[in-house]
Symmetry: C3
Subunit: 414 residues, 3 copies
């Protein structure tokens, strides 16, 4: 894979540098600004701690969450890192093209919010990565990321920019999109052997503990994820508080359900690692609204229950009957809770129209969910087909869920 893999990274990297030179400049905040005004912008100061929380979620949270596989730890945390560093740079350009960035004098103006939005795009790509973890090779992953960012940005442009739907935490834009895109890619890359339990598709004791590092940082910093787009406003404050409630309720409910769905009543780490987080996704589209402690805990509890049921019954059914393999169960953590959140937003918009929302707004909120599902699934199918190109290197069966084909692994102990 030597020259090819490097080329797929270095050629875009050189293009990024060149395009940055031509089309990207500091926002006035980091740039010249009035010489007498040397203090940082108030918005920067309020956003920065929340941004760093989101940043940790993307690189530590997603990265370690996926290390649960006993022989794919390097790929999980490593390719997660590689993809995110790549996607940050690529997203800035694509969002700039679509006028989603702040454009002045024909140039993209960069400030801290640019990077926050780039991190959000990473979220979608890394969710899709979770669906095909251990099944796609690194070159395929890079190409997937390149294409997904385009579809992601188009969807964002349509539903956030044009429809102006409510989705502060990106339950639709990020989570629903990333999950169904990944599942669609996975469908195209179906191979019958995935139906049987693969000897390497399992965890060991310590790999499950590594994954908990990811889980907990995601759980802890999710209020920042949902609140950061409105940092420094009362909306952001409310988003934080709603998300705190929702996550606590999802945590308790996921533990309870994990025991219920097991025939001997034991708890499963896969549920603790994932379903506890569904509360963050479920709060996403409505975190800015006055859903109250009641609404937030109800939503959180429901999503935790739904997510465990997904792991126990829906993922195996999708595998057996729909030929879709979902390594991390992103359908249960991001897909269904994302749709739940989107539906909750529609219900609230419908129920409060035409006073708070206009009837058009309420309808657009529903349309936004439909558009997201449409673009993600179609985009994922198309991308999946592209990734079939032989020169992108598909993974041999014996190399599934294994670091050794791509990494220098000194000593394996697990």
């Amino acid at each position: 894979m030597r020259g090819k893999f490097s080329g797929f990274l270095l050629v875009p990297q050189i293009i990024f540098i060149v395009l940055y030179g031509v089309f990207v400049q500091y926002d006035v905040q980091a740039g010249p600004r009035n010489a007498s005004d040397t203090t940082s912008s108030e918005h920067f100061d309020k956003l920065y701690p929340m941004f760093q929380d989101v940043h940790v979620m993307i690189f530590i949270g997603f990265g370690f969450l996926m290390t649960f596989l006993r022989r794919y730890g390097f790929g999980s945390v490593g390719f997660n890192f590689m993809l995110a560093a790549f996607v940050i740079q690529w997203t800035i350009l694509i969002r700039g093209c679509l006028d989603l960035e702040d454009i002045k004098d024909g140039k993209i103006n960069i400030n801290l919010e640019t990077f926050l939005n780039a991190d959000f795009a990473c979220g979608a790509v890394l969710i899709s990565f979770g669906a095909v973890l251990g099944v796609l090779g690194p070159i395929q992953l890079i190409v997937m990321a390149i294409l997904e960012v385009v579809f992601y940005s188009v969807n964002e442009f349509v539903i956030a920019h044009k429809f102006q739907i409510s989705d502060i935490g990106g339950s639709m834009v990020i989570h629903t999109f990333g999950a169904y895109f990944g599942l669609a890619v996975s469908l195209v890359h179906w191979r019958p052997e995935l139906k049987d339990a693969h000897p390497k598709e399992e965890s060991v004791y310590h790999s499950d503990l590594f994954a908990m590092i990811g889980t907990l940082f995601l759980w802890l910093y999710w209020p920042s994820f949902n609140g950061a787009p409105a940092a420094g406003t009362i909306i952001g404050e409310r988003a934080v508080i709603n998300t705190l409630f929702s996550l606590a309720a999802a945590g308790v409910s996921a533990f309870a359900m994990s025991s219920i769905v097991d025939k001997s009543g034991k708890i499963s780490m896969v549920h603790v690692q994932n379903a506890t987080l569904a509360g963050g996704v479920a709060a996403g589209a409505v975190a800015n609204l006055k859903i109250g402690p009641l609404g937030a805990t109800l939503l959180g509890s429901s999503s935790g229950i739904l997510s465990v049921l997904g792991y126990a019954y829906i993922t195996p059914a999708i595998l057996q009957h729909m030929n879709i393999h979902d390594t991390c169960g992103v359908h249960n953590l991001h897909g269904m809770p994302g749709v739940l959140s989107g539906v909750a937003a529609v219900i609230i918009a419908k129920a409060t129209s035409p006073t708070t929302y206009t009837t058009l707004e309420a309808n657009l909120q529903l349309a936004g969910l439909a558009v997201t599902l449409g673009i993600s699934i179609i985009g994922g199918l198309l991308t999946g087909l592209v990734l079939k190109a032989p020169f992108l290197g598909s993974v041999k069966h014996q190399d599934l869920f294994d670091d050794r084909p791509y990494w220098n692994v000194s000593l394996y102990r697990d």
Copy 2:
């Protein structure tokens, strides 16, 4: 344990949701507020980064600190997570009942500080959890948490609300209380087999490294723990600086003492993992006072030394002669340093009365320490007795310090 365990989580969770609907509302900060004022509250912006640090301490800090046991990693980080998500929701209601929350129109008003105080209650419960780690089963732990939060809040009501003692970092309210409550529970649940070394009550190489994740995040974010209650004030700033000094001194002293108490002069991870943190506890009750760099480093050094001596000599003595098993040595990390901090606060209050403190205040400061010890020990004994109820499921001897009775564990390697 299937139905029972789930019931002990889900029934309270449903009650939480219902009570939240009836009795809990947003504080004006996150709620309606003047329509023209859309900025977040200044207090929120200053508290949020410190709150997130405390949040990390509770879930990552306490959770991973306890993963040192080689076969109880899931229980450590998992039950820690479950208990904290549960206690956050429960504490809000209990503190509301006791008028410790902000009550308006008969409703509990929620803002970020509500969650900070809930995290502090988690701290106490998780300290007690540390005393009985691997010895109590999950249903017992949930019931313990339910009862402990009540005793904890009563104690807080008496000493913080009524006596108005100085305890910014909760050395008495949280650390002393949590430690002696847990030790009292442990006394009631004494079983003679605990006197002998249990083959599973030990660490392996990597479990000790996982524990260091917990240690270091606790050590790093402790200044926020002690400073957050006064975030945005000069008091909070001083609390941060005093705690930084105290922790650095405790760190160095704990390393030195660890070598001294070992007959071959080697360092023990248990001391590094725990005694280095004693400086945070020891600073707690006086961190807001002008103890100066001298006072802070003196207190930190003393607590680090005291804590190592505790691990080396006092914990074994308590085990052999008082029939109290203390899995994590919470007496050394939270109990004694908490009392030390409380005594330091009494001495300062006595020494500076009647000028800075009135004589009454100085006496109440001492009374606060006594009340904390009284309520924690009596509360712990009563709670321990309740936990003896057979339907709460006690742990069989061969299942002590072992994840397998409660968790689906795929492959054990250690």
Copy 3:
């Protein structure tokens, strides 16, 4: 090592406490201040989140980054912790002596920035520690830290205080200094056996994953490292944004190069763990300048490539031909990228003099780099000689890269 090791920690600790009592006091910010002004200082509020990020980098970042060795995990994260807690206290005094701290009434005035600067000194010492990881014993490390802080502060005094060079992120003051100081120490402690591969100088699967915790927190919080000295100003904001660009570019480039330098095209964890971070170092000396997205990504990419080339070709050459063993490859992560950053600063200063910079300033910028190399190498050589003193305990050959001589290690599994 019992009494000796403890003495080398406790005697200085007692001296610290005494000197703190005599010479150190709160800055007006944490101290008396006007009684009517009870809010925290605005600077504290803006610096604190960035300070905590830097704090995490020092203790978690550096500590876990070095745990990659399979049998030196306790020493890596443990001695890192011990040295940093020690150096924080020691640096405050030395910098105070050199007038680098805020002095009033003959006393050192302490505020949060004091601790930020102490953390920076830790950075230099821990980089040097990385060069001799597993080769020096704990007493030698303490003595090295004591001496290095003196040389470090002298160098800072000369180039930052006297020459007033531009080096916001400490690429020269911290990274270049720490790397070449450590390499000089390593040269003096050369032993021929180090030329051959040592059976314990390697990683295992999970030790590489532990190291990734360090890597990622370093990568994520590096923008705070480069921006914190100018927290709350537009300079700090620009430093954050430049560093974000540089790190992303270094990340992608390091992955690509890692595959290129491997004969079978596989990626190596050592490159992912280290070379991805070179972008933070490379941005350091110029992060405050208007290098633009182009400049930042170009610098980041170059440093990532340079760093991988260093690991692949330069470190082995230095080992074979110059008798310098560099356990963590600090020359590749801190040394060369630090010099690169320093040279970039010189070029910018030269190119923009005499308009933005005066010719003198541009020359001093170059002189600063030369002085740093001079003081670090001479200081390292002298310190290395001191560490040869027999009573400081050198490590026996069979004990190299092994925790067991210094730590109570229960069970080794790797």
